[in-house]
């Protein structure tokens, strides 16, 4: 049900994208993603898919590693693909100095072993400098191909930035999934 609503809203925002100017659309979507009040606008969570087959070898095994933001095993990174900004001068949710966050993102739902909850995570790219090159990390829980864009981590999410050059990726906790 939530899935269907989210899908509808996602389609609506894509239609907005098609009908408005590129920059106008970005302003709108950017605002939606930084304001916590707009959470229901987010696309479908990955929780369902992530549970669909529980034997993923990429699920963090060690509780120690899973809280370390410079480790690919960090639980928030369950659908990240790229260089961890925490290794590039930023943090797990902050872009390195001199780069610009992407206003558009892909979305994941990651399980926090610390409190047993699933969280919705926005994966933003940080843009404007060439590849950071440190801590390359590719995890794909619930990730979908590019035709399901909001769940895809292959597309260059810097695509809509003034400078679409990809530098690194952050994961931003938006809230508990399903609330």
């Amino acid at each position: 049900m939530q899935q269907r609503i989210d899908r509808l809203l996602e389609r609506a925002s894509r239609r907005v994208a098609q009908r408005t100017s590129r920059r106008g659309f970005l302003g709108l979507f950017g605002a939606a993603l930084t304001g916590a009040t707009l959470l229901p606008l987010l696309p479908v969570s990955r929780g369902g898919q992530a549970l669909a087959e529980p034997t993923s070898p990429k699920v963090p095994a060690s509780p120690t590693a899973s809280d370390d933001p410079v480790s690919c095993d960090y639980w928030k990174y369950c659908a990240i693909d790229g260089f961890l900004c925490a290794c590039c001068g930023g943090s797990s949710s902050s872009c390195p100095p001199g780069t610009t966050p992407s206003p558009i993102t892909w979305i994941g739902t990651c399980h926090n072993p610390g409190d047993g909850r699933d969280y919705i995570v926005s994966y933003n790219d940080c843009c404007g400098k060439t590849s950071c090159g440190a801590c390359s990390c590719n995890r794909n829980e619930g990730e979908k191909p590019m035709y399901r864009l909001s769940l895809n981590n292959d597309a260059n999410w810097c695509m809509a930035n003034d400078n679409p050059n990809y530098h690194c990726s952050v994961s931003v906790l938006l809230g508990v999934a399903g609330q």
Binding site: R14, Q18, S56
Partner: protein
């Protein structure tokens, strides 16, 4: 003092050694003629071979500098390089004479104003022969055979846009300009068929097919029925071109043959690479997990053992199928500890096919396409060789 000694001593050694060399030379066997002077030249490519392969190196740590390395599977030599910029789309022309590369460049390396462009390289000289500047809306995604596509009559190129709104630009190859754009209703990629038709994959599992006229403009469009389940078992976008259209493959290993030779796309019955026993957990994965020999009907798939979220994981085996019988005819192990896991596969289209495999440790493996015999392993094929293109 100390300073002078350091300088002088070697000079003395040098003199005595030079004298010794002269003396020994004078008493040796008959003196051969000196080697002739060489002339600096530029190598010309020989006639293209079906055993050549373009190895796409994303150069992920320096992504503005991706390139296509042309490699000869018989002589095991690099033949040359086509620079391909940032997150490119690429496709050889139907006649094979041109490699089209759609890419992005900046005025200042990786910053300053940027330009999206399609560049044309003569495949016999590897020289750029022209370009078409695009709107700065080009889709920047993973390498596939379908980021851009020539129309079958080679008159137009269809180029995917994503801003994130999805659309298609049509480039007139002769006029070297963008002649049309049309919205694709959220559908992405460019799969050419008939004379001037292009199909895209939609988020609901349908195909959008748009026919263009001789000015490049849309004259008809239609949506197919959904042919796969996006939520439960999506298809990879790295499909393999087939004689009739394309062979799609799902995350769980289900083959979806798509026939684009008629007025409407036709979907044959899906069939699975794996049996249903979940204990096996064999799945396709990588960056280019399947390759099809079009005339022999042989399908090669990079397979690994893993669960949900492992669809980009490299393979430890290449599974070989007869697409006519849907039977697996071989399993060829790749030694991941020795060569890395298999990320990309491609097969030459001649009747003595070579199977090319690149790994996550940048090794290019060459296997006999009929027996799986490992013929050659070439290390250090760039940083991240994620895609393989037949010439």
């Amino acid at each position: 003092m100390r300073f002078n000694k350091t300088l002088m001593q070697p000079a003395i050694i040098a003199l005595s050694l030079a004298q010794a060399a002269l003396l020994s030379g004078a008493w040796a066997a008959p003196v051969p003629a000196p080697l002739p002077a060489e002339h600096l030249s530029i190598t010309q490519l020989p006639v293209a071979s079906p055993h050549w392969i373009y190895v796409y190196d994303e150069a992920f740590n320096n992504e503005t500098d991706s390139r296509l390395n042309l490699y000869d599977g018989d002589s095991h030599r690099l033949l040359g390089q086509i620079d391909s910029g940032y997150y490119p789309g690429f496709t050889p022309s139907p006649d094979g004479h041109t490699m089209a590369v759609a890419t992005t460049y900046w005025a200042r390396g990786g910053h300053g104003p940027h330009t999206d462009v399609i560049e044309f390289t003569d495949t016999s000289s590897l020289a750029i022969t022209g370009e078409v500047v695009l709107a700065p809306t080009r889709a920047q995604g993973p390498p596939t055979s379908y980021n851009i596509a020539y129309s079958k009559d080679q008159r137009f190129i269809y180029s995917t846009n994503l801003t994130p709104a999805a659309s298609m630009s049509v480039i007139d190859v002769e006029k070297k300009q963008v002649v049309a754009d049309f919205d694709t209703d959220g559908c992405v990629l460019a799969i050419a068929s008939l004379e001037r038709r292009v199909s895209s994959i939609c988020e609901n599992g349908r195909l959008l097919s748009v026919t263009t006229d001789d000015t490049g403009h849309e004259v008809a469009r239609s949506f197919s029925d959904p042919f796969f389940d996006v939520d439960h078992d999506p298809v990879f976008i790295q499909a393999a071109p087939s004689q009739q259209g394309a062979l799609f493959l799902s995350f769980l290993g289900v083959v979806h043959p798509v026939d684009l030779s008629g007025m409407q796309p036709r979907f044959s019955a899906p069939w699975s690479l794996v049996d249903a026993k979940p204990v096996h957990h064999w799945r396709p994965g990588g960056t280019q997990m399947l390759a099809l020999h079009k005339t022999l009907g042989t399908l090669y798939v990079s397979m690994h053992q893993g669960g949900e979220g492992t669809h980009k994981m490299g393979g430890s085996q290449i599974w070989v199928f007869d697409t006519n019988t849907h039977r697996r005819v071989a399993r060829w192990p790749i030694d991941p500890a020795k060569y890395g896991a298999a990320l990309a596969v491609q097969v030459s289209q001649d009747l003595q096919p070579l199977l090319f495999v690149t790994t996550d440790t940048s090794t290019l493996l060459i296997l006999d396409g009929k027996t799986g015999h490992l013929l050659h392993a070439e290390a250090k094929m760039g940083q991240t060789p994620w895609y393989l293109i037949n010439p």
